[in-house]
């Protein structure tokens, strides 16, 4: 049987995922110092280093068997992948935030609110659930800036400690949903290599 191919993303989940793999008994030495290499092999498995947002795409198309990815990314697009395990690491939450002085004040009647976000689908789903009408503005970073310069009234973004929000004079208006790192698998890999994948899931699950 071929080695399992595992996608790990650089970014906030990199360290906690590697620690968990190590605790689960996997050789993670090559990941300690990958240099510029994107494919790293150990005696047991093959690691692929991709961007976090691309992990579910590699998994969905079967280019890798399994991957570690934040549930925020899984919520933003429909991926046909198996979600096997909540690792309870990298925890944070989606929040609706706005300027402290405007929070709680009723929006001006008749004026269409604007919400800036990196996650337009999450934002649209949330606003629809609340029965709110708002224009969604897609940004790629520094959400906090949008309300400060008048680009948007509010933002929907990930927050773990809330410090970045506070530093920019923003407050949490509503907590939308908890987010954490998930272990996902390609559909066919999970069906054809179920014993190898379930063994890995159990090791990772019991390593915390």
């Amino acid at each position: 049987m071929d080695k399992l191919r595992i996608a790990v993303a650089k970014g906030s989940l990199w360290e906690p995922v590697i620690e968990r793999l190590e605790a689960a008994g996997f050789d993670i030495e090559p990941l300690r110092n990958p240099g510029r290499r994107l494919q790293l092999e150990t005696a047991e498995v093959e690691y692929v280093i991709s961007r976090a947002v691309d992990v579910p795409t590699f998994v969905e198309w079967g280019a890798v068997d399994i991957g570690f990815v934040g549930s925020d990314i899984l919520m933003e697009e429909d991926y046909d992948v198996f979600e096997l395990l909540d690792l309870a690491i990298g925890q944070c939450r989606f929040v609706l935030a706005g300027r402290a002085e405007a929070a709680g004040a009723a929006p001006a009647p008749g004026r269409l609110q604007r919400v800036a976000t990196k996650y337009p689908k999450v934002a649209a789903d949330y606003l629809e659930r609340c029965g709110r009408q708002a224009e969604i503005i897609k940004l790629y970073g520094s959400m906090e800036l949008a309300p400060l310069v008048g680009l948007a009234d509010e933002i929907i973004d990930l927050s773990s400690t809330g410090r970045t929000l506070a530093d920019n004079g923003l407050v949490v208006i509503d907590e939308i949903v908890e987010v954490s790192c998930r272990l996902i698998a390609n559909y066919v890999s999970y069906k054809m290599k179920s014993s190898a994948i379930n063994e890995l899931v159990n090791k990772v699950k019991n390593a915390c």
């Binding site: 395990l85 559909y187 066919v188 069906k191 054809m192």
Partner: protein, 335 residues
């Protein structure tokens, strides 16, 4: 900013539609020929049906995921039409309108193009080809055995070497849940979690139910219930005293029939399988090969679909995706 284009506009096919040129077309027709031969050897006859139908006739039981993906348009008479997104429902309509119950079982096959809007619109194909069969009015166990055996024969004749067929029952979960005291909304949540393939969500819902520890552990074990013949014994234990017991007994008969037909080594019994179509009522199955990240094809039993068209008959069938099959063959599946 504009992307540079040639000054003379090149004529283009619409997004997600592709031409097949002579060399590939010849390969495609050869592959179709092998599949046709496999179907005809078991005395299935070809049906050629219209590319589009009344939307209402295609939307019957097709399942919400497919309904939203249909390519729809208005006829000059103001009635809503749709390009067929798959063939099973179209053939159910043909059967009800044109075939005589006295001639059952009807053994029909097709090689046809089907059409779906891809929800994410990332440039995925909007037209693709399927080859498949429908067996209408046959016995349940014998029909299941025949259809799965033919599925395996067709993939083998196509040239695929390394493949497995996952075989399960859509009615196993509902049989188990039927005897537990579970609210309809919770049952929907469990089904939804399995359909969206989230074992995390499934576990969350199960742990939130007020259940005896034993029943809870049984439910948690269910999605991972897959493997060889031993799965039947474990499933029988889980199903003891529930409506699912009869389901497992029938699956055991089908598996025995497949063993007799010499194809059991292809089968992975898997009670965690959920397929995209709402019309399935019993057996469901799908094919996997290591070189492809998606299923090559699949099918199942749909005993209630024809009744939607006023024709009472049990039925089962399958479809194989020709583009996916070609890709798997190109990746080294050829004998």
């Amino acid at each position: 900013m504009k992307i540079n284009r040639p000054t003379i506009q090149t004529p283009a096919a619409p997004r997600g539609l592709w031409d097949i040129l002579p060399a590939q077309a010849a390969e495609r027709r050869a592959l179709e020929g092998r599949l046709r031969a496999a179907f005809e050897r078991r005395e299935y006859g070809e049906v050629i049906s219209p590319s589009f139908e009344y939307y209402d006739n295609l939307a019957v039981e097709a399942g919400t995921s497919i309904q939203g993906d249909m390519v729809r348009f208005m006829g000059t008479d103001g009635r809503l039409l749709a390009l067929r997104p798959e063939m099973t429902t179209a053939i159910a309509r043909v059967t009800a309108q044109r075939l005589d119950p006295k001639d059952e079982p009807h053994r029909l096959y097709y090689v046809a193009n089907v059409f779906r809007e891809h929800p994410s619109k990332r440039g995925q194909p909007r037209e693709f080809w399927q080859a498949g069969v429908e067996q209408i009015g046959g016995g349940t166990v014998a029909g299941d055995i025949e259809v799965v055996t033919l599925f395996i024969e067709a993939l083998t004749v196509a040239g695929l070497k390394d493949f497995k067929v996952g075989l399960g029952r859509i009615d196993f979960l509902s049989g188990i849940l039927g005897t537990l005291d579970i609210a309809g909304a919770d049952e929907e949540s469990l089904r939804g979690a399995l359909a969206s393939r989230s074992l995390v969500e499934y576990e969350r819902v199960v742990l939130g139910l007020a259940l005896e520890p034993e029943a809870r552990d049984d439910l948690l074990a269910l999605p991972a219930l897959s493997g060889g013949a031993g799965v039947l014994d474990r499933a029988a234990e889980l199903a003891a005293g529930t409506e699912a017991a009869a389901v497992v007994a029938e699956l055991r008969q089908v598996y025995a029939g497949l063993a007799e037909a010499g194809v059991a080594e292809r089968i992975i019994l898997d009670l965690g399988i959920v397929r995209d179509f709402d019309y399935y009522t019993g057996m469901i199955f799908e094919a996997y090969t290591p070189s492809l990240g998606a299923v090559i094809g699949g099918g199942g039993r749909y005993d209630d679909l024809l009744a939607e068209f006023g024709y009472q008959a049990p039925a089962a069938g399958f479809a194989v995706g020709l583009e996916r099959l070609e890709r798997a063959l190109a990746a080294g599946g050829v004998v």
